[in-house]
Protein backbone atom coordinates (compact mmCIF):
# COMPACT_ATOMS: atom_id res chain seq x y z
CA UNK A 1 0.00 0.00 0.00
CA UNK A 2 1.22 3.44 -0.77
CA UNK A 3 0.46 5.86 1.99
CA UNK A 4 1.17 9.24 0.48
CA UNK A 5 4.86 9.03 -0.13
CA UNK A 6 4.60 12.50 -1.67
CA UNK A 7 4.51 14.18 1.70
CA UNK A 8 8.03 13.03 2.49
CA UNK A 9 9.29 12.78 6.03
CA UNK A 10 6.97 15.31 7.64
CA UNK A 11 5.36 14.05 10.83
CA UNK A 12 1.84 12.65 10.77
CA UNK A 13 0.64 15.19 13.30
CA UNK A 14 2.31 18.31 14.69
CA UNK A 15 0.22 20.54 16.90
CA UNK A 16 1.54 23.62 18.66
CA UNK A 17 -0.41 25.30 21.45
CA UNK A 18 -3.66 24.05 19.91
CA UNK A 19 -6.85 25.51 21.35
CA UNK A 20 -10.16 24.20 20.03
CA UNK A 21 -13.53 25.36 21.25
CA UNK A 22 -16.78 23.45 21.49
CA UNK A 23 -19.27 26.34 21.74
CA UNK A 24 -16.95 28.51 23.86
CA UNK A 25 -15.68 25.64 25.99
CA UNK A 26 -11.94 25.04 25.42
CA UNK A 27 -11.96 21.30 24.77
CA UNK A 28 -8.30 21.59 23.79
CA UNK A 29 -6.52 24.08 25.99
CA UNK A 30 -3.15 24.70 24.36
CA UNK A 31 -2.07 21.20 23.46
CA UNK A 32 1.34 20.30 21.99
CA UNK A 33 1.79 16.98 20.27
CA UNK A 34 4.02 15.53 17.58
CA UNK A 35 3.35 12.12 16.11
CA UNK A 36 5.86 10.43 13.83
CA UNK A 37 4.73 8.43 10.81
CA UNK A 38 4.01 4.75 11.40
CA UNK A 39 3.35 5.09 15.10
CA UNK A 40 0.33 3.65 16.87
CA UNK A 41 -0.67 6.32 19.35
CA UNK A 42 -3.08 5.51 22.11
CA UNK A 43 -4.90 8.47 23.63
CA UNK A 44 -6.03 7.83 27.17
CA UNK A 45 -7.55 9.98 29.86
CA UNK A 46 -10.82 10.58 31.65
CA UNK A 47 -14.05 11.45 29.88
CA UNK A 48 -14.00 15.04 28.70
CA UNK A 49 -10.20 15.15 28.53
CA UNK A 50 -10.32 16.27 24.91
CA UNK A 51 -9.58 12.98 23.11
CA UNK A 52 -12.46 13.18 20.67
CA UNK A 53 -11.80 16.85 19.93
CA UNK A 54 -8.13 16.12 19.29
CA UNK A 55 -9.10 13.46 16.74
CA UNK A 56 -11.60 15.79 15.07
CA UNK A 57 -9.00 18.55 14.87
CA UNK A 58 -6.61 16.14 13.14
CA UNK A 59 -9.39 15.19 10.69
CA UNK A 60 -9.92 18.83 9.77
CA UNK A 61 -13.45 18.76 11.19
CA UNK A 62 -12.95 21.09 14.14
CA UNK A 63 -10.95 24.26 13.46
CA UNK A 64 -8.32 25.60 15.85
CA UNK A 65 -9.22 28.79 17.69
CA UNK A 66 -5.56 29.41 18.55
CA UNK A 67 -2.25 27.81 17.84
CA UNK A 68 -1.42 25.92 14.68
CA UNK A 69 -1.07 22.44 13.37
CA UNK A 70 0.12 20.35 10.46
CA UNK A 71 -1.34 16.98 9.64
CA UNK A 72 0.26 14.70 7.04
CA UNK A 73 2.35 17.54 5.74
CA UNK A 74 -0.47 20.02 5.23
CA UNK A 75 -1.57 22.91 7.42
CA UNK A 76 -4.95 22.23 8.99
CA UNK A 77 -6.04 25.84 8.64
CA UNK A 78 -4.99 26.55 5.07
CA UNK A 79 -4.69 23.07 3.61
CA UNK A 80 -7.82 21.46 4.99
CA UNK A 81 -8.60 19.69 1.73
CA UNK A 82 -5.19 18.01 1.57
CA UNK A 83 -5.42 17.02 5.22
CA UNK A 84 -8.77 15.41 4.66
CA UNK A 85 -7.64 13.56 1.58
CA UNK A 86 -4.83 11.95 3.56
CA UNK A 87 -6.65 11.02 6.75
CA UNK A 88 -9.60 8.83 7.60
CA UNK A 89 -11.74 8.88 10.69
CA UNK A 90 -13.90 6.30 12.36
CA UNK A 91 -15.77 7.81 15.27
CA UNK A 92 -18.29 6.11 17.54
CA UNK A 93 -20.38 5.96 14.40
CA UNK A 94 -18.90 4.10 11.46
CA UNK A 95 -20.11 6.38 8.65
CA UNK A 96 -21.99 3.55 6.94
CA UNK A 97 -25.31 3.51 5.13
CA UNK A 98 -27.41 0.87 6.89
CA UNK A 99 -29.47 -0.11 3.87
CA UNK A 100 -26.49 -0.70 1.62
CA UNK A 101 -24.41 -3.86 1.57
CA UNK A 102 -20.76 -3.96 2.58
CA UNK A 103 -19.74 -3.96 -1.05
CA UNK A 104 -22.06 -1.08 -1.94
CA UNK A 105 -20.78 0.99 0.96
CA UNK A 106 -17.22 0.40 -0.12
CA UNK A 107 -18.05 1.09 -3.74
CA UNK A 108 -19.72 4.35 -2.79
CA UNK A 109 -16.78 5.67 -0.80
CA UNK A 110 -14.37 4.31 -3.36
CA UNK A 111 -16.19 5.93 -6.27
CA UNK A 112 -16.06 9.29 -4.49
CA UNK A 113 -12.29 9.29 -4.82
CA UNK A 114 -12.15 7.41 -8.11
CA UNK A 115 -11.05 4.04 -6.72
CA UNK A 116 -11.91 1.05 -8.86
CA UNK A 117 -13.19 -2.47 -8.28
CA UNK A 118 -9.72 -3.80 -7.57
CA UNK A 119 -9.19 -1.56 -4.58
CA UNK A 120 -12.61 -2.46 -3.21
CA UNK A 121 -12.03 -6.20 -3.62
CA UNK A 122 -8.59 -5.94 -2.08
CA UNK A 123 -9.91 -4.05 0.94
CA UNK A 124 -12.72 -6.54 1.46
CA UNK A 125 -10.47 -9.54 1.44
CA UNK A 126 -8.00 -7.79 3.69
CA UNK A 127 -10.73 -7.24 6.27
CA UNK A 128 -12.25 -10.67 5.80
CA UNK A 129 -15.42 -9.24 4.39
CA UNK A 130 -15.61 -11.11 1.12
CA UNK A 131 -17.98 -13.91 0.24
CA UNK A 132 -21.47 -13.93 1.62
CA UNK A 133 -20.82 -11.07 4.06
CA UNK A 134 -20.27 -8.60 1.24
CA UNK A 135 -23.84 -8.95 0.00
CA UNK A 136 -25.63 -8.35 3.31
CA UNK A 137 -26.95 -4.88 4.13
CA UNK A 138 -24.73 -3.60 6.92
CA UNK A 139 -27.77 -3.16 9.14
CA UNK A 140 -27.71 -6.92 9.64
CA UNK A 141 -24.03 -7.14 10.58
CA UNK A 142 -22.51 -7.48 14.03
CA UNK A 143 -20.77 -4.51 15.64
CA UNK A 144 -17.40 -6.05 14.87
CA UNK A 145 -18.24 -6.59 11.21
CA UNK A 146 -19.47 -3.04 10.90
CA UNK A 147 -16.26 -1.76 12.42
CA UNK A 148 -14.28 -3.86 9.93
CA UNK A 149 -16.33 -2.38 7.11
CA UNK A 150 -15.46 1.08 8.35
CA UNK A 151 -11.77 0.13 8.39
CA UNK A 152 -12.11 -1.26 4.88
CA UNK A 153 -13.31 2.19 3.77
CA UNK A 154 -10.11 3.68 5.22
CA UNK A 155 -8.13 1.17 3.19
CA UNK A 156 -10.05 1.96 0.01
CA UNK A 157 -9.52 5.65 0.64
CA UNK A 158 -5.81 4.97 1.28
CA UNK A 159 -5.92 7.02 4.44
CA UNK A 160 -2.37 7.55 5.67
CA UNK A 161 -3.49 8.57 9.15
CA UNK A 162 -6.23 6.57 10.86
CA UNK A 163 -8.10 8.56 13.48
CA UNK A 164 -10.18 6.20 15.58
CA UNK A 165 -12.42 7.25 18.41
CA UNK A 166 -12.77 4.31 20.77
CA UNK A 167 -12.60 1.61 18.11
CA UNK A 168 -12.99 -1.09 20.77
CA UNK A 169 -16.19 0.29 22.26
CA UNK A 170 -19.22 -1.95 21.92
CA UNK A 171 -17.27 -4.97 20.66
CA UNK A 172 -16.82 -8.37 22.26
CA UNK A 173 -13.32 -9.50 23.19
CA UNK A 174 -12.79 -11.49 19.98
CA UNK A 175 -13.71 -8.51 17.88
CA UNK A 176 -11.43 -6.32 19.98
CA UNK A 177 -8.50 -8.58 19.27
CA UNK A 178 -9.41 -8.48 15.60
CA UNK A 179 -9.34 -4.71 15.69
CA UNK A 180 -5.88 -4.82 17.24
CA UNK A 181 -4.64 -7.15 14.53
CA UNK A 182 -6.01 -4.88 11.81
CA UNK A 183 -4.42 -1.81 13.35
CA UNK A 184 -1.05 -3.50 13.71
CA UNK A 185 -1.26 -4.62 10.13
CA UNK A 186 -2.16 -1.11 8.97
CA UNK A 187 0.75 0.38 10.90
CA UNK A 188 3.17 -2.20 9.55
CA UNK A 189 2.16 -1.29 6.02
CA UNK A 190 2.91 2.35 6.60
CA UNK A 191 -0.19 3.97 8.06
CA UNK A 192 -0.11 6.00 11.23
CA UNK A 193 -2.82 5.13 13.76
CA UNK A 194 -4.13 7.37 16.47
CA UNK A 195 -6.85 5.94 18.66
CA UNK A 196 -8.55 6.78 21.88
CA UNK A 197 -9.40 4.14 24.42
CA UNK A 198 -10.28 3.62 28.02
CA UNK A 199 -8.39 0.35 28.16
CA UNK A 200 -4.98 0.94 29.61
CA UNK A 201 -3.89 -2.69 29.35
CA UNK A 202 -4.74 -3.06 25.71
CA UNK A 203 -2.77 0.08 25.02
CA UNK A 204 0.32 -1.51 26.48
CA UNK A 205 0.11 -4.40 24.04
CA UNK A 206 -0.95 -2.53 20.93
CA UNK A 207 0.44 0.96 21.00
CA UNK A 208 3.93 2.18 20.33
CA UNK A 209 3.24 5.18 22.52
CA UNK A 210 0.61 6.22 25.02
CA UNK A 211 -0.40 9.85 25.29
CA UNK A 212 -2.43 10.75 28.33
CA UNK A 213 -4.75 13.75 28.11
CA UNK A 214 -6.49 15.66 30.85
CA UNK A 215 -8.05 19.08 30.87
CA UNK A 216 -7.39 19.54 27.17
CA UNK A 217 -3.61 19.19 27.41
CA UNK A 218 -1.07 16.36 27.35
CA UNK A 219 -0.28 15.27 30.90
CA UNK A 220 1.62 12.09 30.19
CA UNK A 221 3.60 10.78 27.24
CA UNK A 222 5.37 7.44 27.26
CA UNK A 223 6.64 4.82 24.85
Amino acid sequence: MDFHAEIGESPAVALQDAVALISDFPALAGLDLTVARGEIIMLTGPNGAGKTTLLRVCAGLTPLARGNGQVMGADIATGREEVRRRVGMVAHSNGLYDELTVRENLEFWGALIGAGDDEVRQAMSMMGLDGRLATVPVRGLSAGQRRRTAFAILVVRRAGLWLLDEPHAGLDSNARDEVDEILKHAASSGATVMLSSHEHDRAQKLATREVRLAGGVVVGDGQ
Binding site: A91, G95, E104, I113
Partner: protein, 230 residues
Amino acid sequence: MSSPNRLRVAQIVFAKDLRIERRSKVLTSQIMPFAVVTLVLFAFALDGDVILQRTAPGLVWLAMLFSSMIIVQRSFAVETADGALDALRVAGADMSAVFLGKWLALVVQLLLLELVLLVGAVVMYGIELRGSGIVLLVTSSISATCGLSAVSTIYAGLASGVRGRESLLPLLVLPVASPVLIGATRAAEASFGTGGTVTSEGWPWLGVLSVFAVVFGFGGSLAFGPLIDD
Protein backbone atom coordinates in the same frame (compact mmCIF):
# COMPACT_ATOMS: atom_id res chain seq x y z
CA MET B 1 -6.65 6.83 -9.43
CA SER B 2 -7.98 10.27 -10.21
CA SER B 3 -10.64 12.22 -8.42
CA PRO B 4 -13.96 12.01 -10.27
CA ASN B 5 -15.47 15.20 -11.60
CA ARG B 6 -18.43 16.99 -10.10
CA LEU B 7 -21.10 15.42 -12.29
CA ARG B 8 -19.81 11.95 -11.54
CA VAL B 9 -19.92 12.63 -7.77
CA ALA B 10 -23.46 13.96 -8.12
CA GLN B 11 -24.41 10.83 -9.99
CA ILE B 12 -22.87 8.59 -7.31
CA VAL B 13 -24.76 10.39 -4.54
CA PHE B 14 -27.98 10.36 -6.56
CA ALA B 15 -27.76 6.62 -7.20
CA LYS B 16 -26.88 5.97 -3.56
CA ASP B 17 -29.90 7.93 -2.28
CA LEU B 18 -32.32 6.19 -4.60
CA ARG B 19 -30.89 2.78 -3.82
CA ILE B 20 -31.31 3.42 -0.09
CA GLU B 21 -34.86 4.53 -0.74
CA ARG B 22 -35.59 1.42 -2.79
CA ARG B 23 -34.30 -0.79 0.03
CA SER B 24 -35.95 0.99 2.93
CA LYS B 25 -39.22 1.65 1.09
CA VAL B 26 -40.02 4.59 3.36
CA LEU B 27 -41.55 6.47 0.45
CA THR B 28 -43.95 3.75 -0.61
CA SER B 29 -44.74 2.24 2.78
CA GLN B 30 -45.00 5.38 4.90
CA ILE B 31 -45.03 8.66 3.05
CA MET B 32 -47.41 7.78 0.24
CA PRO B 33 -49.99 6.38 2.69
CA PHE B 34 -49.57 9.52 4.80
CA ALA B 35 -50.20 11.71 1.77
CA VAL B 36 -53.27 9.75 0.76
CA VAL B 37 -54.65 9.93 4.30
CA THR B 38 -54.16 13.68 4.11
CA LEU B 39 -56.30 13.77 0.97
CA VAL B 40 -59.00 11.81 2.79
CA LEU B 41 -58.83 14.12 5.78
CA PHE B 42 -59.17 17.17 3.54
CA ALA B 43 -62.37 15.60 2.22
CA PHE B 44 -63.69 15.21 5.78
CA ALA B 45 -62.74 18.76 6.68
CA LEU B 46 -64.14 20.44 3.58
CA ASP B 47 -67.23 18.26 3.16
CA GLY B 48 -68.65 18.66 -0.30
CA ASP B 49 -67.99 17.42 -3.81
CA VAL B 50 -68.10 20.86 -5.39
CA ILE B 51 -65.67 22.42 -2.94
CA LEU B 52 -63.32 19.47 -3.23
CA GLN B 53 -63.33 19.62 -6.99
CA ARG B 54 -62.68 23.36 -6.82
CA THR B 55 -59.84 23.08 -4.29
CA ALA B 56 -58.28 19.82 -5.48
CA PRO B 57 -55.14 21.36 -7.03
CA GLY B 58 -54.44 23.33 -3.86
CA LEU B 59 -55.00 20.33 -1.64
CA VAL B 60 -52.73 18.14 -3.73
CA TRP B 61 -49.94 20.68 -3.47
CA LEU B 62 -50.45 21.25 0.25
CA ALA B 63 -50.14 17.50 0.76
CA MET B 64 -46.99 17.60 -1.40
CA LEU B 65 -45.51 20.42 0.62
CA PHE B 66 -46.01 18.71 3.97
CA SER B 67 -44.91 15.32 2.72
CA SER B 68 -41.80 16.84 1.19
CA MET B 69 -40.77 18.07 4.65
CA ILE B 70 -40.81 14.47 5.86
CA ILE B 71 -38.97 13.08 2.84
CA VAL B 72 -36.20 15.65 3.01
CA GLN B 73 -35.70 15.14 6.75
CA ARG B 74 -35.37 11.45 5.98
CA SER B 75 -32.90 12.16 3.19
CA PHE B 76 -30.57 13.81 5.70
CA ALA B 77 -31.34 11.44 8.57
CA VAL B 78 -29.72 8.77 6.38
CA GLU B 79 -26.55 10.88 6.30
CA THR B 80 -26.41 11.71 9.99
CA ALA B 81 -27.60 8.38 11.46
CA ASP B 82 -24.17 6.75 11.37
CA GLY B 83 -22.02 9.82 10.87
CA ALA B 84 -21.85 9.53 7.09
CA LEU B 85 -22.08 13.31 6.69
CA ASP B 86 -18.88 13.77 8.71
CA ALA B 87 -17.32 10.99 6.69
CA LEU B 88 -18.32 12.79 3.49
CA ARG B 89 -16.64 15.91 4.78
CA VAL B 90 -13.47 14.05 5.73
CA ALA B 91 -13.51 12.30 2.36
CA GLY B 92 -13.39 15.77 0.82
CA ALA B 93 -16.50 15.18 -1.30
CA ASP B 94 -17.44 18.19 -3.42
CA MET B 95 -20.42 19.53 -1.52
CA SER B 96 -22.06 21.24 -4.46
CA ALA B 97 -22.03 17.86 -6.21
CA VAL B 98 -23.51 16.25 -3.11
CA PHE B 99 -26.22 18.91 -3.21
CA LEU B 100 -26.91 18.18 -6.85
CA GLY B 101 -27.20 14.45 -6.22
CA LYS B 102 -29.44 14.74 -3.20
CA TRP B 103 -31.55 17.39 -4.92
CA LEU B 104 -32.25 15.25 -7.96
CA ALA B 105 -32.92 12.16 -5.85
CA LEU B 106 -35.49 14.19 -3.95
CA VAL B 107 -37.02 15.39 -7.23
CA VAL B 108 -37.51 11.80 -8.36
CA GLN B 109 -39.13 10.79 -5.08
CA LEU B 110 -41.42 13.81 -5.00
CA LEU B 111 -42.52 13.24 -8.60
CA LEU B 112 -43.52 9.69 -7.71
CA LEU B 113 -45.43 10.98 -4.72
CA GLU B 114 -47.13 13.55 -6.88
CA LEU B 115 -48.28 10.93 -9.33
CA VAL B 116 -49.95 9.07 -6.47
CA LEU B 117 -51.58 12.26 -5.18
CA LEU B 118 -52.90 13.15 -8.63
CA VAL B 119 -54.40 9.72 -9.10
CA GLY B 120 -55.87 10.06 -5.61
CA ALA B 121 -57.38 13.42 -6.50
CA VAL B 122 -58.86 12.05 -9.74
CA VAL B 123 -60.39 9.14 -7.88
CA MET B 124 -61.53 10.84 -4.70
CA TYR B 125 -62.16 14.45 -5.67
CA GLY B 126 -63.58 13.77 -9.11
CA ILE B 127 -61.28 16.06 -11.08
CA GLU B 128 -60.83 15.31 -14.74
CA LEU B 129 -57.66 15.52 -16.76
CA ARG B 130 -58.11 17.03 -20.17
CA GLY B 131 -55.90 16.54 -23.16
CA SER B 132 -55.05 20.19 -23.66
CA GLY B 133 -53.85 20.51 -20.08
CA ILE B 134 -51.51 17.55 -19.94
CA VAL B 135 -48.41 19.32 -21.23
CA LEU B 136 -48.92 22.22 -18.84
CA LEU B 137 -49.56 19.87 -15.92
CA VAL B 138 -46.44 17.81 -16.55
CA THR B 139 -44.08 20.73 -17.18
CA SER B 140 -45.36 22.83 -14.30
CA SER B 141 -45.24 19.89 -11.90
CA ILE B 142 -41.66 19.11 -12.84
CA SER B 143 -40.47 22.68 -12.43
CA ALA B 144 -42.41 23.13 -9.20
CA THR B 145 -40.92 19.92 -7.83
CA CYS B 146 -37.41 21.00 -8.82
CA GLY B 147 -37.86 24.33 -7.04
CA LEU B 148 -39.39 22.83 -3.92
CA SER B 149 -36.72 20.14 -3.71
CA ALA B 150 -33.91 22.65 -4.12
CA VAL B 151 -35.17 24.85 -1.30
CA SER B 152 -35.84 21.87 0.96
CA THR B 153 -32.41 20.37 0.32
CA ILE B 154 -30.61 23.63 1.11
CA TYR B 155 -32.35 24.18 4.41
CA ALA B 156 -32.43 20.51 5.43
CA GLY B 157 -28.66 20.47 4.93
CA LEU B 158 -28.35 23.56 7.11
CA ALA B 159 -30.56 22.04 9.81
CA SER B 160 -29.06 18.54 9.71
CA GLY B 161 -27.30 17.60 12.88
CA VAL B 162 -28.66 20.58 14.78
CA ARG B 163 -30.91 20.31 17.81
CA GLY B 164 -34.52 21.21 17.05
CA ARG B 165 -34.19 20.64 13.30
CA GLU B 166 -37.66 19.10 12.96
CA SER B 167 -39.34 22.39 13.79
CA LEU B 168 -36.71 24.67 12.28
CA LEU B 169 -36.97 23.17 8.81
CA PRO B 170 -40.62 24.07 8.07
CA LEU B 171 -40.08 27.55 9.49
CA LEU B 172 -37.25 28.10 7.03
CA VAL B 173 -38.68 26.32 3.99
CA LEU B 174 -42.39 27.12 3.95
CA PRO B 175 -42.18 30.94 3.50
CA VAL B 176 -39.57 30.57 0.78
CA ALA B 177 -41.57 27.83 -0.94
CA SER B 178 -44.78 29.83 -1.03
CA PRO B 179 -44.31 30.92 -4.68
CA VAL B 180 -44.13 27.22 -5.56
CA LEU B 181 -47.43 26.56 -3.84
CA ILE B 182 -49.11 29.50 -5.53
CA GLY B 183 -47.65 28.77 -8.94
CA ALA B 184 -48.09 25.02 -8.96
CA THR B 185 -51.67 25.29 -7.72
CA ARG B 186 -52.67 27.90 -10.30
CA ALA B 187 -50.99 25.97 -13.10
CA ALA B 188 -52.75 22.77 -12.02
CA GLU B 189 -56.09 24.62 -11.90
CA ALA B 190 -55.52 25.86 -15.43
CA SER B 191 -54.68 22.41 -16.70
CA PHE B 192 -57.72 20.83 -15.04
CA GLY B 193 -59.96 23.73 -16.00
CA THR B 194 -60.96 24.18 -12.36
CA GLY B 195 -63.50 26.97 -11.90
CA GLY B 196 -63.76 27.58 -15.64
CA THR B 197 -60.10 28.49 -16.15
CA VAL B 198 -58.55 27.89 -19.54
CA THR B 199 -55.22 26.22 -20.12
CA SER B 200 -53.55 29.34 -21.47
CA GLU B 201 -53.92 31.05 -18.08
CA GLY B 202 -51.43 28.56 -16.70
CA TRP B 203 -48.42 29.33 -18.86
CA PRO B 204 -47.21 32.43 -16.98
CA TRP B 205 -46.98 30.22 -13.89
CA LEU B 206 -44.65 27.88 -15.67
CA GLY B 207 -42.39 30.92 -16.01
CA VAL B 208 -42.51 31.70 -12.28
CA LEU B 209 -41.86 28.08 -11.36
CA SER B 210 -38.96 27.69 -13.77
CA VAL B 211 -37.26 30.87 -12.59
CA PHE B 212 -37.72 29.73 -9.01
CA ALA B 213 -36.19 26.32 -9.73
CA VAL B 214 -33.23 27.82 -11.56
CA VAL B 215 -32.56 30.48 -8.91
CA PHE B 216 -32.65 28.09 -5.96
CA GLY B 217 -30.98 25.24 -7.81
CA PHE B 218 -28.07 27.50 -8.66
CA GLY B 219 -28.12 29.25 -5.28
CA GLY B 220 -28.23 25.92 -3.50
CA SER B 221 -25.25 24.44 -5.29
CA LEU B 222 -23.25 27.53 -4.32
CA ALA B 223 -24.50 27.76 -0.76
CA PHE B 224 -24.57 24.11 0.24
CA GLY B 225 -20.84 23.64 0.75
CA PRO B 226 -20.29 26.60 3.06
CA LEU B 227 -23.52 25.76 4.92
CA ILE B 228 -22.58 22.15 5.65
CA ASP B 229 -18.85 22.22 5.85
CA ASP B 230 -17.45 24.25 8.70
